[in-house]
Symmetry: C2
Subunit: 341 residues, 2 copies
Amino acid sequence: MRVTAKTIAKQLNMSPATVDRVLHNRGGVKPKTVNKVLAKAEELNYTPNKSASFLAKKKLVKVAFVLPEYPEYFWKEIERGIDNALEDITDYGFHVDIKKTSHTIEHQLETVHTIINSGEYDGMVICPKDGVSLTNIIESAVNNDFPIFTFNNDSPESGRISYVGANYYDAGKLAGDLASKFTGESKRFAIIIDEADTYQMKQKRKGFEAFTLENGDVDFVKLLRLDNQSMSASLEKVRQNIADVDSVYVACGALAEVAEQVKQMESNKPVLIGHDLNDAVYHQLQEDIVTATICQDPHYQGSLAVRLAFNYLMLDKLPEKEDNVVKLEIVTKGNAKYYLN
Amino acid sequence: MRVTAKTIAKQLNMSPATVDRVLHNRGGVKPKTVNKVLAKAEELNYTPNKSASFLAKKKLVKVAFVLPEYPEYFWKEIERGIDNALEDITDYGFHVDIKKTSHTIEHQLETVHTIINSGEYDGMVICPKDGVSLTNIIESAVNNDFPIFTFNNDSPESGRISYVGANYYDAGKLAGDLASKFTGESKRFAIIIDEADTYQMKQKRKGFEAFTLENGDVDFVKLLRLDNQSMSASLEKVRQNIADVDSVYVACGALAEVAEQVKQMESNKPVLIGHDLNDAVYHQLQEDIVTATICQDPHYQGSLAVRLAFNYLMLDKLPEKEDNVVKLEIVTKGNAKYYLN
DNA sequence: CTGTTAGCGCTTTCAA
DNA sequence: TTGAAAGCGCTAACAG
């Protein structure tokens, strides 16, 4: 038989309601009774049944996830993680709406506004296009008891409940570590960024450079910039600029494109390192054009965010940490298949 | 409001009991009624509430996990994964007992016997010491409607419901891939096994050798064997034998011990690759004695096993695949901290 | 300070 | 072939 609140009540000759009051310290119970109940609960090893509890509370909570559209393969994985974590807890009354926002910050700001003002939601998880420009809106929402979590990209000044995502400085450092391990005596490196030069990218670059500074045997690090307006021209230029380099680290989203350039080089192909995995990169790994790519388990990241929001909103449990940093994973030819889909 | 079975019943002027019968095709319902209910459920986008369902069924299920004691750090991680997956579903009436078995196969066989005959359990998840010697007992149990899942180590001939664990052949191949990438022109390799030479180790070796065969630029692969009886002597011997080698792959559990030997070498320290991560290996990664270690996400592995058993026993859902292969992860100095604890 | 009662969404008798 | 009723473990409103 199961040990329930009723079991405790029966053994102590009182009503389940009193037991419930004690178990949730709702107050208004004689201290002596409190102690008796607590002792009995301990003795019988009582654990409350969440299922029954949520069922009885009939509380409904809805949170909005505000996510970018691109890169699609990445956010699809995140969504899988979200859905997975939702599997059991939708039955508890916890629901999620995913809102995609396009390129512009304006659009994102507007979306956020709408969500907060609609009164439909009890909280929000957001991947800010730009942490700084969202600081104010997040701050005022949080102060008005509308909890917001940041995701994948932080807005540290905003007072968000907590952040879930990778540490991009570490990611850059890891890239440096790999570049160094995959090359021989000569260590002439290049790092490729694009003009957006977001916070994430800056961090990656800092981390990569920090690594090379700490490791005296690196000859140099060349900084190359892609121009989104004239992509093919700037890719061409990159190809020329990496002819004298032993390893290239693509810190922006253009790994596959750069790889195509490397493929065309006749000799001295550099070791190529980048981020994330899509079909193109998968094949380039198999062809040994890309040596390694650094991934962050998007599936786990998604489910962690759901869990934190759930704990906060339905269990009144604060996240243990302000930063919930997710694993950085190294993917090569040998283990890439585990990371696809 | 929520859409419940009652909602459907009301809209169709019938009782919730009939709706329930249809939803679970328990039979004894007029085809016309069946269709009406199904259509309504579809129309209202009805989803059953698992919480309420389990609560009402009051079914209790208990499964035994039979796991080895060593290496402790590995099984501790697995247990964390198990506990994690259990978090919500214990409230559904699904319980797990973990039984540790010591070194001998006899002890494990006995434990398995006891579990099956006790009548206390509804199923079992086991990490066989040796798949072959457990074939018979698993087979007869499964035939007697006592479902058994294998874990971490398979017993493919036994008719187990399904297997959860890594593909060790692939692990060996991955080690080959890494050894090759981390070395320069000269590729003289050694692989270290121990006398136990279990199925897992054989597979790793095969995979490693397969990789080197496919890659013509590998000079040779030396096979070295550790002797558990005279560990220090054989470690010494290993040290002498790897003096002329560019990379060493430790396929057995002695990565940290071999690393200590490598540390003592004055020059030509080979690239060291092995499996799993404990405190010792963590430090050896930081010191650049170990270059990389291959891990299988034990946390995920544990929770997957729980989920499969739960689905099978409580949801009557068969696993989609016979082999549930878990990810192989590459850990280096740069990302090791994410894998500790 | 404590007990009674009804009900969450679902399943399971039992009766019709 | 269908319905009524009770109950899973917990909570909430109301009464006392």
